[in-house]
Symmetry: C2
Subunit: 453 residues, 2 copies
């Protein structure tokens, strides 16, 4: 990477020094010269005292840009807000884009919000209050209301005047939305096509009416899919009666895609990988709940083996294959789980036939089970010179894998149907569940074969 602006510890320490020596002008110059992303990292890294100093040096407008860049998933923003004077906060939120302001303000309680709202511009308060009503993880919660709108009977040159006038405030000016007198969305024009059109052309002649738009309560995964499939920079959000409410922009969607991917990944691993830079005690505290819960589920498997203890005393050779069968079935279940979760997240509802999916997964389980079962039958028969033992282990493997495959695909589908996020179904959970059924299958089959060992 050859950027000259790579941020080193030196740069940060230099800023701290300027701040602590009250060299306000030099500090402002050095600090504001950095990219807003880096300013934000500095802000979060400053000490409490340094931040208090900062509030007297930066304008509310300058701080608002920093707050727009804080990643709320990773940072608890509340203590920061509480150390700032309400008047300053009011001025800051007045400068901020309404979607970010609404997101940040949900972290405060009603009383704190009221103190801030009381000194803000009333139209901003109304806008923010409206945005705060939308459900989390919907188009409404992602959108901003700062977009550029024109009417159909305007000319290109008058539309350009509108764009120039709103360029400072709008979230993006690269798409211009065409509304009718009732604020209904008629179409879209890119700034690119405005630029290459003649000044006197009517908007209605160049508007693209094949517009891709989303309902305000559309889930964010679906919104992200539109961006991905249609290569969009922004997407208009409308009410149920097609009133244009706002736009979602691509930078917010990148965060959505990232968060969704991470939550799928975390789900599969059975651990939240959100914050990887914790101390060992915090890490352990994050992992233990799942681990201990699964430990108790595993106790079920242990007491099941206990139940079959008579079998093991008769033929201790049976103990040898417990972990092989539970392990392999667990691996097959994890694979099937991952494919199933991914299939649910990719496919549209239309393509999903519940029984079709289940049948396909049973068939896949039968094939993988047959191949694996046959392999282990041959290996065990040769190794132990006992074909009946090989047969028992092979048949048990076959059944255990078929069941694990079925469970691995059924559980996420069932969760999805019941309205839960299927990605929460974790690999460790499937493995531990499948230990239980595999052990039951193994010993039941071994019980039938035991007289032939």
């Amino acid at each position: 990477m050859n950027n000259e602006d790579v941020i080193t510890q030196d740069v940060f320490e230099n800023l701290q020094e300027l701040l602590n020596h009250n060299e306000i002008r030099a500090f402002r110059e050095a600090f504001l010269d950095h990219h807003i992303y880096d300013q934000t990292q500095f802000y979060l890294d400053f000490t409490d005292d340094e931040r208090l100093e900062l509030y007297s040096i930066l304008s509310p407008q300058e701080l608002s840009e920093i707050f727009e860049n804080i990643d709320f998933d990773a940072v608890d923003i509340k203590p920061y807000l509480q150390e700032i004077a309400p008047e300053y906060l009011s001025a800051m939120f007045d400068e901020m884009s309404s979607d970010n302001a609404a997101d940040i303000l949900t972290n405060l309680n009603k009383r704190e919000r009221r103190a801030i709202f009381s000194q803000m511009a009333p139209e901003n308060v109304t806008e923010i209050r409206n945005l705060m009503h939308y459900d989390e993880e919907t188009a409404g919660s992602l959108m901003t209301t700062e977009f550029v709108a024109v009417v159909a009977n305007q000319t290109v040159s008058s539309a350009m005047t509108v764009i120039k006038a709103t360029a400072e405030d709008a979230e993006t000016i690269y798409y211009v939305y065409v509304l009718d007198n009732d604020k209904q969305l008629l179409g879209v024009i890119s700034l690119r096509s405005l630029l290459i059109s003649h000044d006197d052309t009517l908007i209605s002649d160049i508007v693209n009416e094949h517009i891709i738009k989303v309902d305000v309560d559309e889930p964010q995964e679906r919104v992200a899919r539109y961006f991905r499939d249609y290569d969009l920079l922004a997407l208009p959000v409308v009410s149920h009666d097609n009133i244009m409410l706002g736009i979602v922009t691509v930078d917010d969607i990148i965060d959505v895609i990232d968060d969704e991917a991470q939550s799928d990944y975390s789900g599969l691993a059975g651990v939240n990988t959100d914050n990887v830079n914790q101390n060992p005690i915090q890490s352990a505290a994050k992992r233990l709940p799942w681990l201990v819960a699964l430990l108790f589920l595993g106790m079920g498997t242990a007491s099941l083996i206990d139940h079959f203890d008579g079998l093991v005393s008769k033929a201790s050779v049976l103990a040898i294959f417990i972990s092989l069968i539970t392990g392999t079935a667990g691996n097959a279940g994890t694979q099937s789980l991952a494919v199933s979760v991914r299939r649910i997240s990719i496919n549209d509802d239309a393509n999903r036939s519940f029984f079709g999916l289940i049948l396909a997964e049973i068939a896949t389980g039968l094939v993988t089970g047959a191949v694996t079962g046959l392999t282990i039958f041959i290996v065990v028969s040769l190794w132990k010179g006992n074909m009946m033992l090989g047969l028992a282990v092979g048949v048990a493997m076959f059944c255990a894998i078929t069941v694990a495959n079925l469970a691995g695909s059924l559980i996420p589908v069932a969760m999805d149907r019941l309205g839960f996020d299927p990605a929460v179904a974790s690999g460790p959970f499937i493995s531990t569940m499948s230990d239980l059924t595999s052990v039951f299958i193994y010993f039941s089959i071994a019980g039938i074969f035991i007289h032939f060992f």
Copy 2:
């Protein structure tokens, strides 16, 4: 979703009918009216005969847009290219943006490429040939050479003239790059700031020289991180001597982020989840290699238990806890693996101290192992009324989890250091490995305690 253009099976069948009845005009009108993404889906869904018909109906330019939208990771593009006449392909690639043309053409062999190149515009051939030299998954392989460039001593109005002239071809016109006479990159101006500046303003007065740029051989993950952190729409790519070579645009980065997430997810599950709509035989074929490989690794665990068979015959109660210990250690290892893979992908090299990471993970393992070991000690002591047995199981659990945690974090770090993608280290692999060590630890410890049972 309230889009009026939702694509139903009816729409598709209607298009097929028009095509098969040779109603060319009606077909063109209906087909081209759809969004390019949907046109692409139709194209891929048509039969062979219908596609051949299509090539005589659509212009090379119209087909080029479809080809720009095909997802090469999911579709094998070669058969499609081979059914099209070379002259048509030449005309099509002449219309296409150079980065996509280069991506598509890598799927053909030299002879086929030469046939296409021979009838293309020489400057396009040179551009595409250059792009084909860049390593996969680097900034160079993602970039396009169609960007807008101006010089510093131009005025805003002359820059706007340049933009309007290149608007049709450029991949994005929303960032304009300022170059010196040697094509070195000096800075960037957004179209937004051009629009709000006075016509006579000099570019040098409004250029932003704090430009974020990447080297042509920068890995794509790092490029994606810039987009995410700095909310970019496009990012300039430069050579080692700061010559501007091209730009990467946000739509390509969304695909990168998506692919990376999916490959992390697939890695963790031990199965490639790229194509989820396969028939059961194909699915099984995809899952079996891993499964059978791990089965043989699992045989190692089985023969280790066999080695301890004397212990099991003496105390068949030992068999009860095999799957509990291997299962729990496997779960802990999977968690630790996921956190470690994620940490590697997020953190910069600068923040990574090999031994610091390992020490932290050992500490986390010790804490989780201690809590889990203590829990199982209490449960087993009470259940079996045998504190020595409880102690043996508890200590074994403690050791097995500490080792699994260490392995789960060491393996991806080691892979990363050796230049492999750490995300390939899969959960099932870690579980199966940890079965082996857990069984060894368990029986070794049980062997010490066995006289007290």
